[in-house]
Symmetry: C2
Subunit: 482 residues, 2 copies
Amino acid sequence: MNKLADTIQKKPWLGWLLFLGTLGAVFLLGLFATSISERRLESKKSFEWITPIGEQESDSAVWGKNFPREYDSWKATQDTSFKSKYNGSTMIDMLEINPRLVVLWAGYGFSKDYNQGRGHYYSVTDIRNTLRTDETAPGTCWTCKSSNVPRLMNHLGVADFYKDTWMHLGPEITNAIGCLDCHDPKTLNLRISRPALVEAFQRQGNDIKKATHQEMRSLVCAQCHIEYYFKDDGKYLTLPWDRGTTVEAMEAYYDEYQFKDFTHKLSRTPIVKPQHPDWETFQLGIHAQRGLACADCHMPYRSEGGVKFSNHKVQSPLNNIANTCLVCHRESEETLRNSVYERQDKISELRTRAEDLLVRAHIEAKTAWDLGATTQEMEPILAFIRKAQWRWDFVAASHGASFHAPLESARILGNAIEQAGQARLSLVRVLSKHGKTDAVALPDISTKAKAQSYLGLDMPSLKKKKEAFRQETLPQWENKAN
Amino acid sequence: MNKLADTIQKKPWLGWLLFLGTLGAVFLLGLFATSISERRLESKKSFEWITPIGEQESDSAVWGKNFPREYDSWKATQDTSFKSKYNGSTMIDMLEINPRLVVLWAGYGFSKDYNQGRGHYYSVTDIRNTLRTDETAPGTCWTCKSSNVPRLMNHLGVADFYKDTWMHLGPEITNAIGCLDCHDPKTLNLRISRPALVEAFQRQGNDIKKATHQEMRSLVCAQCHIEYYFKDDGKYLTLPWDRGTTVEAMEAYYDEYQFKDFTHKLSRTPIVKPQHPDWETFQLGIHAQRGLACADCHMPYRSEGGVKFSNHKVQSPLNNIANTCLVCHRESEETLRNSVYERQDKISELRTRAEDLLVRAHIEAKTAWDLGATTQEMEPILAFIRKAQWRWDFVAASHGASFHAPLESARILGNAIEQAGQARLSLVRVLSKHGKTDAVALPDISTKAKAQSYLGLDMPSLKKKKEAFRQETLPQWENKAN
């Protein structure tokens, strides 16, 4: 440095050069810093309160005044177009494309009506319109459908909310699943608003408040995307997790309580209908094992004007591979899509085999009853059917199971296939004892209509009743709400 | 630069500084280059011929003089210690730990003796000693066991090699699987030495010579680690790939030829015994789909003194996670090991279910035959058993299937379970028609000895015969060889 000083002393223009160069560099640095702080400011803006949010604010539009990006993306759940091999369009009629389901759920609402789920935006619309809801439904049915629920639960008390009727609570339910369901209106932190999940954690000796942020990015979804049942006459929403969350652990739980959702109309099997054990299945797959949360793929981060936010258009990652899979994987979109399709195809194959065997088992059991089989003869058979159907439906009902945990899904279906086979094997013996030595012929259940007619479902009258509800009751509900 | 020249002209010591600095930098660069060229030289050394290798050189020790690292690591296949949940020690007696296998292979050599495979080093030793080889075995049995085979095939002609007897060729077979089996002795390039694979490619209209180096790093393994059969009386080693390499495609091939490896001793089912469709299964898993070759995980690259070479101690990657899985995956060894174990556990569960059903099906079929069932009654049943056993054994026989392609393995086993169930269902009807209306009791097959005794296998005499072979024939073979 002394030599440099020496040189500069002898050549003053060199010093000027250095001085001006430094000035230029500092100026550029200043520009850069301004750009950063501008972006910071912009990103802070989204946390500047334009409108305060009430503690029970169920209208997501009010939240949206403060959080336009999250709100806009939430609103985008209106768009139900879907890139998937099995879900090409909107709200597929699942009974139409797979009439076996009608027989498998004979005696339960799902055999009347079961459509592909749509975005959160439609949660209230769709539950109002399905043939599965009527005056017999309890208040519990609203639990997962609306951001009005936290206020109602607070007002009525949780147990009384569940005990109420779906019809009586109807006018109070106006908003679809929205901001309040997962966020604290003061801090915006993720928050569990539904008691069933908190209670399930408590019964296992865990405190859900200790969950990390990354865990919460799955647990807020797990408020609804889990297996649950309506306990006892109070229809208290309960998660069957006390022995664990695997298919076997939950089965053991239900068996201990001798719980059933319905008695199968044909086979008279006491059936547990899995809801959508999505979170439970996800835990058993590689993505959860490597630390991912639901939101990582279903609500990926997005940047707009320097603001990073979670895309609240909850949807299949297949609709958005670039911002989900490609964050970690280096393959082309097409390669990754085909990898998903391959998993879906293999699970679909096993699922169809299980369904085919189970349909036959139900119909053969009905034949055995008709021929005078005794309860004693039928009990072990119905136990196998119950086991097989629980397993089959666990995979069938779990959204994305074939991707979330393909091997576990295959294992479960392999067991379902075995148990359905065992049921049918015993049925051959019982049928033969009652004079039926050849195969039981299958009725024509090749379409939804034929399968429903085989079950004696009076679909025109069910549809008429729902139409009356839409014409007469719904306007009253909306009047009361306004 | 003009200004710098100006300055230097006015201050000559500055020029000297620049000159000496450059000198120093050039000197350091020279040192670095020397180090690189030394390492290059060292790495070239392994390709300097110390001893020429003959065109049919079957003694790997001769190759080893030129390639000591590859040879040393090949010799290390003597070490058969194994880190795996299911393979804790050396050469497990598979029939002892799973006596169901004895029943499943009744009527075939595998029910006499079936041990866990050992390293390439033991290939000749183990085939000599197994109870499965005797004077009835054809020459074909040697094909995959020794680096003497290329010379013999060249000398005798391929078809005549196969047609020869195992006993007659015995004295010629002295070297275990080694260098010549996969390498060209002139260029050291990977080379296919066995005709069956080349012929299978040809029949599909493909030229194996066009394979890339990375493909060859699997295809040299696929010379033996594939499904094959001995065609017709000439026992011509043939790959059943003409319709494809999936479990269904190969089944269709065998069905077309009405091929069977043996008739099951109990059920009289014409059974195809899969060998080890390792390459075929691997193709259906994620690692092959993402471009990996067998050698990537079973012969990972290693560096010694600047020389990079493939570790020829072919073994399970679980024995060497640091140099295999961890090349791509960022998890801990324990996490990765547990991920493998989880896959193995799930497949093992389905496999056991399939085995249990199949054992019962074979025994129930025997009972039906004993009671006078007709061929017409039994044919559809045996067709189901054949299908189920082909699928079960496809997974059971394929080394590492539960890791290479877990979901495909589960899919195959799910189908096996279904088909075995179908067989048993039909058996109940046939049995009942012939007076047997209750369940067929299982014999005691709880140990290998009990299962073998149930089949009427005279194990002491088989062992005595093999002992005589060891005492009398083997020394003669070795005399002739020397």
